[in-house]
């Protein structure tokens, strides 16, 4: 569906995208994550034909998006990271305005717009002024607007930012519906948990590079080693702490009730070795285990790398 190949973008001397490679299959919801300034918006704008890359290729359904931008305009729906409102325009008029930009007028336009307003649960707001809607409603209206021409690929830049949990939930439900309709969706966010549940795959971006990319469950697997180790003690807490502080593979030691929480850079076998050592030293423990896979910690870990 979408193939990005060696995409590079300089803003003057500043390297915003550094040979980015990415492939997204049809029907996927792809979560594009990275801290602010990672280059998500830049990538999305290039894909939408709003920005020229310095070098690299973008293909959508096999069509060169940089050479044939005009023909792809009917295939892409784009929601920018900033919601644009016109004063004195009603929600329905706002929709019809964009419909007319795609050559859709009159009765057909009205029907399409009403259908989309219904899809995003705004049927009762057709006559309201856009600037009077809540943030979540505006965001949904903007989403409906990006669908007026029934695009195959939806590109949503930070659609969940600034939304309360309820609005975010509604947004998720709508995206699920869209996925069922067979749309390919790219969503960006600088907060990973916001996305994790609704995406089939994610790419984590940092300083213009994709540092991690794959199906959500695969990434969770990879995330395991990054998760903290929990050692449940029966007794001899002081001794256990002393012992752990000596171990070079242990970092960020903290104590929670009768447990030690620590970052441990080792695989399952090394954890077994650790258990043996506790037994040999006669420090009574009830067990050692990794905490559940957590994308958030992984995200923080991956994006923080090399920043020290």
């Amino acid at each position: 569906m979408l193939k990005i190949d060696g995409l590079t973008k300089y803003y003057g001397k500043f390297l915003a995208l550094d040979h980015l490679n990415l492939e997204i299959e049809k029907g996927e919801i792809f979560g594009f994550v990275g801290p602010n300034g990672a280059g998500k918006t830049t990538t999305m704008k290039i894909v939408c034909g709003l920005l020229n890359p310095t070098s690299g290729q973008v293909y959508i359904n096999g069509v060169d998006a940089l050479k044939d931008a005009q023909s792809l305009k009917r295939k892409i729906g784009y929601v920018p990271d900033f919601f644009g409102v016109y004063d004195n325009l009603k929600a329905m008029e706002y929709m019809e305005f964009y419909a007319s930009m795609y050559g859709l007028e009159g009765k057909a336009a009205k029907e399409t717009c009403l259908g989309l307003m219904d899809l995003v649960n705004l049927s009762d707001k057709t006559d309201s002024y856009v600037d009077g809607l809540s943030r979540g409603m505006k965001q949904r209206l903007c989403l409906a607007r990006s669908l007026v021409h029934n695009p195959d690929l939806l590109i949503l830049d930070e659609p969940a930012s600034g939304l309360d949990p309820r609005a975010r939930f509604e947004m998720k439900e709508i995206l699920k519906n869209l996925k069922e309709m067979g749309k390919t969706i790219i969503i960006s966010s600088h907060i990973l948990p916001e996305l994790a549940e609704m995406c089939s795959s994610v790419g984590i971006m940092k300083k213009g590079k994709l540092v991690l990319h794959g199906q959500v469950d695969e990434i969770l697997e990879q995330a395991k080693n990054a998760n903290p180790l929990k050692i449940d003690l029966i007794d001899k807490k002081e001794e256990a702490i002393m012992f752990m502080k000596e171990n070079p593979k242990v970092k960020n030691l903290s104590i929670r009730d009768n447990s030690l929480i620590l970052a441990f850079d080792g695989d399952d076998f090394e954890i077994y070795e650790l258990m043996k050592a506790f037994v040999e030293r006669q420090i009574p423990i009830r067990g050692i285990h990794r905490e559940e896979g957590n994308l958030e910690t992984l995200f923080i870990e991956v994006t923080a790398e090399g920043e020290k």
């Binding site: 939408c48 920005l51 940089l66 325009l89 008029e93």
Partner: protein, 307 residues
């Protein structure tokens, strides 16, 4: 023909704003004040000289036309200053650019909006202009010419204003630069003509040159001057010829010099001043529209920089 979507949207928004009616009120009030002053002067003359000179009432028309032309010329940069930058700021420009609508359509939609807004002002003043109707000299043909000239001026000033709006993010610099460009076309070309004509006359006088071909070509330095269009036309309303033809003829009226064929052709040519003047103004407008469209076209602009 399909109505430009941007124009339609702007008109919907504009019809809900109270700015327009208020501005139109002040515009008409100003014109009314002008007319009133003219009437006072006519009345004063009537008492001074003892004989009522109603014919001077006909000057209501040129004075109101000039006043309006000046107001339009000042107003258009203000109306258009945020037309592109406003959309850019809201990121609605980005959204528009992801639709199949072409950059040049976005610009012409904005231009059409500005022209329609301006013509609301112009039409609102028509009843006042027709004051001059009552007292002879002026008829509906003059009104049509006036509207046509205002249309040309609006397109010209509008495309400059919209171009500046596509360059500057803030409205104030956009307004100032538009006005500087506008003033250049009015006074810059006038000064260019004045200075070159002055030097040439001096040169002719010094060297005792009979042939005046060059001095008949120099007025065309003002062919992109919108004020020249108004001047030539208004002179025509009260005389059988335009101002450029008239001054050129005067140049030879008292000289013993026999006109060459070339000189005759050039003098005749000046009688058609308005046509090339209009065409050049529209041509310049087209260049500004094209430049504005290039400015908002993200792909084109970058390509140019590199190429």
């Amino acid at each position: 023909m399909k109505i430009n979507p941007i124009l339609k949207k702007e008109l919907t928004i504009g019809s809900r704003s109270i700015k327009m009616p208020v501005a139109i009120f002040f515009y008409d009030a100003l014109l009314a004040l002008c007319s009133f002053v003219i009437l006072l002067i006519v009345r004063a003359q009537a008492f001074d000289g003892g004989n009522l000179n109603l014919k001077s009432l006909a000057y209501v028309f040129p004075i109101l036309m000039c006043t309006q032309a000046v107001i339009l010329y000042i107003m258009i940069p203000i109306i258009t200053a945020s037309s592109v930058s406003g959309e850019r700021e809201r990121q609605t420009l980005d959204i528009m650019l992801t639709t199949p609508v072409k950059p040049v359509q976005i610009i012409t939609g904005k231009l059409a909006t500005a022209i329609i807004q301006v013509f609301l002002f112009v039409f609102s003043s028509l009843p006042m202009i027709s004051l001059a109707f009552l007292f002879g000299g002026i008829n509906w043909v003059n009104i049509i010419y006036m509207l046509g000239i205002f249309l040309v001026i609006s397109i010209f000033a509008g495309s400059i204003g919209i171009y500046c709006s596509s360059v500057f993010k803030k409205t104030l610099p956009a307004i100032i630069v538009s006005m500087v460009i506008e003033l250049f076309f009015v006074f810059g070309t006038l000064i260019a003509y004045g200075v070159s004509a002055g030097f040439y006359e001096y040169y002719v006088y010094q060297n005792n040159i009979e042939d005046q071909t060059t001095s008949l070509v120099l007025p065309w330095l003002m062919v992109a001057n919108p004020a020249a269009l108004v001047a030539d036309y208004l002179y025509r309303v009260f005389n059988s010829e335009g101002i450029f033809h008239s001054t050129a003829s005067l140049l030879f009226a008292y000289s013993s010099h026999n006109l060459s064929g070339m000189e005759k052709t050039l003098i005749n040519g000046l009688n058609y001043w308005m046509i090339p003047n209009i065409l050049v103004l529209l041509g310049v407008s087209m260049i500004f529209i094209k430049m504005a469209a290039n400015r908002i076209n993200p792909l084109r602009r970058k390509g140019k920089k590199r190429g």
